[in-house]
């Protein structure tokens, strides 16, 4: 069965690999690239723990084949911090205790980054709607919403 040469950028770094057609993007990211910040939760396209940005759009990387990302660009949680400084979203989750066990957090933050790019000043409803594809079994979401609000404010200050 088929194998394919793929090349794509992951967090800005060009990666080339030969992959089996059936290799899921999340397995490529975790096992081939050793970027284990992206988690596998439910494995059934439900929980959003494996969320990564694919060509600027957040997707569940357990439900995309790695070969489909050929020629594209991927951003994972490891791509959020720049020059050793936490991204405002990471800072928000830290400051507002937007996590307990932390398992959902990488996916939650990638979804947040897409949400804030589209809607820099979201209402609480916008936030809850925007993260509704990412499950958290610890926090009850309250502090996640606060973390996103913190990040939104911080990013607007930084931009303005």
């Amino acid at each position: 069965m088929s194998t394919h040469k793929i090349s794509l950028t992951v967090n800005g770094v060009m990666q080339e690999a030969e992959v089996e057609a059936r290799l899921l993007l999340v397995h490529f990211i975790r096992e081939s690239l050793n970027l284990t910040g992206t988690h596998i939760g439910c494995d059934t396209t439900s929980c959003g723990a494996c969320t990564v940005m694919l060509d600027g759009v957040p997707v569940k990387s357990c439900t995309v084949f790695a070969v489909q990302a050929d020629g594209g660009s991927v951003k994972t949680v490891e791509g959020l911090a720049q020059n050793g400084n936490l991204h405002p979203i990471q800072e928000g989750f830290h400051e507002k205790h937007g996590l307990q066990c932390g398992f959902c957090t990488p996916g939650m933050m990638i979804t947040t980054s897409a949400l804030l790019e589209k809607n820099p000043n979201p209402t609480e409803d916008d936030i809850r709607w925007g993260i509704s594809g990412n499950l958290c079994r610890c926090t009850g979401y309250t502090n996640i919403v606060k973390a996103v609000q913190y990040a939104a404010e911080k990013m607007q200050q930084d931009a303005g």
């Binding site: 394919h4 759009v57 439900t63 995309v64 979804t111 594809g133």
Partner: protein, 291 residues
Amino acid sequence: MIPPKFDYQAPTNLEDALALLSANAEAKILSGGQSLIPMMRFRLASPQVVVDINRIDGLSYIREEDGWLKIGAMTRESTLDESDLVKSKYPLLADTAKMIADPLVRNRATVGGNLAHADPANDHPATMLAYGAEIVATGPGGPRVIPVSDFFVGPFEPALEHNEILTEVRIPQANGSSGGAYMKLERKVGDFATAAVAVQLKLAADGTCESVGIGLTNVGLTPIRASEAEAVLRGKALTDAAIKEAAGLAAAAADPEPDYRGSVEYKKSLVKTLTVRALRLAAERARGGAA
């Protein structure tokens, strides 16, 4: 879970995709992949060849043309959800796009895939039944048109030949006196509907119901068109009594299985309630001129 092995092909034009289907009896089309890939992981599907149509240009569009709203098969649900044209003139479609799966799945999932998968639990089938939509299927001999009422042959069985690809769905262009609504109860975001009801109607100048379509989600082996409920409303004023009678007939048309989402009685009762609400909202929207 790792899917079984397969050959992967990513043609860049429709002709090549059709040729691959003709050459491989065990080939399967991959569009958004949000149903197919989970099914492959669960070994519910084991296609020997996967034909990825994501690299074919020209299959993603939403435009009004020749009296139709034409939607390209590869249009993502998130694109539909964000379309100003859909939001302003096609409220039934806008309601539906918001309720499908979850925001991350909607970023990949396609309108064509949602229909071609022919899952009675999917949302677009009922919507398209209510709209009286047409499906355009393209095969080696060119495109053909299939009325959506003939499209859902059985569970996961669309009226597509093996060497055909669903390329477009088109719904009658909205006018000022039409309106629609989709009412769905789901246990949580991302779950399939416990039941859902799609309504599209057009009001005559005197306020009576000129035409109406009612589609039901996940209460039978196929998506269901509630024809008897439609028939009692046609030409009538949309009084509370008429709406309740139609809702009763819609509930009677539902043929659900009991499962962890509810009993047969509960689901039928739900169809009745959702039909009443969808008819009321659709009529309100039609009167408001919001289409």
